[in-house]
């Protein structure tokens, strides 16, 4: 994330919202800056105003006071419909137009912007490819012929259609089953790697917020921004008691998924048959291609434990997961070719995991 010294893509300045007939504001005096190209997840308990805040960014809800800036331009008083065509919008209920084909759904904004037919058609195909749907299969279908996960892929494609610099997403994966949701999250990150939009993403799921966010904005009641920082900072150093309680139990486990194995110092492994092995180092047998086949000897164990491996590109969370799953006190870290690069030991992991989330 490169936000140092740049002007933010979205900026809320002193924004408040008081609904009619209510004495207390739903959001009070909020300042928030979203750097260009970043995913910011907005999270907080129900009724904290996170959706209100999101909807004020494209003025689906008009702020009572304050200014909204988009790429430095004050958009508080511009034509709201025109503004929304410059901002992608994806909602939990998807809201595809059931009477239009998938292609026409995606084409809604480009058509309003007056793109010519050819450009619209090629953009639709490009976007369907991007979200992993074969254009020839899906272009002419109708929303009700699609599964929930497919519908939300189309919803994301519709949001991206006119190539807006900013996307607002309101719990887009909230109504989708856990397995599909995880797949959609992975695909979403892959898409974001290609399109590099500035994204505000409302969720109530901390795991999702940690996984997707470059930054997390934690909101307390009435839209108070309790903490705004990177996921690992929020998990390791909650700004106050509210955030600490909100990230609460499981924070240490969640942090594991933010730690890349490649960032760690791995324990040495000795390959069996490569000379005399010191007694205090694990010894591994390998097959002909150099891939691990079994433990020959592991210090501290009477009999060699089951062999489990984890890719170097994984996270510590993955490593812990396979160790628990295989009842193994040690896991072999392998590279892309499946060759051993080192080992992670359970006891070392637990002993060295510092409160700040770093090892050693």
């Amino acid at each position: 994330m490169s936000d140092a010294g740049q002007s933010p893509m979205i900026a809320l300045e002193g924004v408040s919202k008081t609904y009619p007939k209510q004495s207390k504001p739903a959001v009070a005096e909020l300042n928030l800056q979203v750097p260009e190209g970043a995913i910011v997840t907005l999270i907080g308990p129900s009724g904290c105003g996170k959706t209100t805040i999101l909807k004020m960014m494209n003025r689906l809800i008009e702020p009572t006071t304050g200014r909204i800036l988009l790429a430095g331009e004050d958009v508080t008083d511009v034509n709201a419909d025109q503004l929304r065509r410059r901002i992608g919008y994806v909602i939990q209920q998807v809201g595809l137009f059931p009477h239009l084909t998938i292609a026409d759904n995606i084409a809604v904004v480009p058509k309003m912007l007056g793109w010519d037919k050819r450009r619209v058609a090629s953009r639709v195909d490009e976007l369907l490819h991007l979200v992993g749907m074969e254009p020839d299969d899906f272009r002419d279908r109708y929303p009700r012929q699609l599964s929930g996960g497919q519908q939300q892929r189309v919803g994301v494609a519709r949001g991206l259609a006119a190539d807006p610099p900013v996307m607002l997403m309101d719990e887009p994966f909230g109504a989708i089953d856990p397995i599909t949701r995880e797949r959609l999250q992975d695909e979403f990150l892959e898409v974001q790697r290609q399109v590099a939009k500035t994204i505000c993403f409302v969720t109530h799921d901390l795991t999702e917020a940690v996984k997707l966010g470059d930054r997390i904005a934690v909101f307390a009641a009435r839209g108070r921004l309790a903490q705004y920082d990177t996921p690992s900072e929020v998990l390791a150093h909650p700004a106050d008691a509210f955030v600490a309680e909100f990230v609460g139990s499981g924070a240490a486990v969640r942090r594991l998924s933010l730690l890349q194995i490649s960032q760690l110092e791995l324990a040495q492994i000795v390959i069996s048959g490569a000379g005399a092995a010191p007694k205090d180092q694990p010894v591994l047998s390998v097959d002909g291609a150099g891939r691990p086949s079994a433990w020959h000897h592991v210090p501290g164990s009477e009999r060699p434990p089951a062999l489990v491996t984890v890719p170097l590109s994984g996270t510590v969370y993955d490593a812990v997961d396979v160790m628990l799953d295989g009842r193994a006190p040690v896991v072999v870290v392998v590279d892309d070719d499946g060759r051993p690069r080192g080992a992670l030991r359970w006891d070392a992991l637990v002993a060295d995991l510092r409160p700040n989330g770093q090892l050693r």
């Binding site: 494209n58 689906l60 419909d81 929304r84 209920q93 137009f97 904004v109 309003m112």
Partner: protein
Amino acid sequence: MGSYLQYLSENSTELVFYAQQHFLLVGYSVALASVISLVLALVLHTNQLTPPSWRRSLQVGSRETALLFASAALTVPSLALFGMLQPLLGLGVTPSIVALTLYAVYPVLRNTLAGLSGVDPAILEAARGVGMGPVRRMLRVQLPLAWPVIISGIRVAVLIVISIAVVAAVINGPGFGKPLQDGLARLGSVNSFNEVITGTLGCLLVAAGYEIVFVVVRRLTTPRGIRV
């Protein structure tokens, strides 16, 4: 039975003319009622079109009031309504169409309002979120989605009006009311029963004709994605 067929063939030109008249009388009235109801429903439904100073309860209230008047019109006995319109509009086609239009408004208005408010709010929010203005939202999203409900309201109006239309004969209106009432007035004399039967069957025929029209119109006007 043989004599009835003979009656039909002897009077075929006249009967075809009655059928045409009846069909068109119903068509004009319901078309007029549909236009009135659609405009009324759009004004009443769209918050943007009613003054923002109207409170929500008043907006809902105005909708209910319109429906109340429309349903009240439907309960006025048809004989009385035709009679009341006669001093104002005279005899013949004009008062017939006006009266039948009044009867047709309620089912169309009711279904139009129901159809418009039955559109999934998430879809309307998405429409707003992608930057559709109120007019575009209504014409491109809300109205097409409400259309199947609206058209079934129009169909009910047609069925109601087909049978009420026979009463138009009391003010010299067109359609199958004429043979029916002639026959009833002279019951017992030559061909009187044949006339009554013809008036009744004629209405069924017109209704069947409209059913076919509706099957076609529905097929052609309902977007493929929401056809059931």
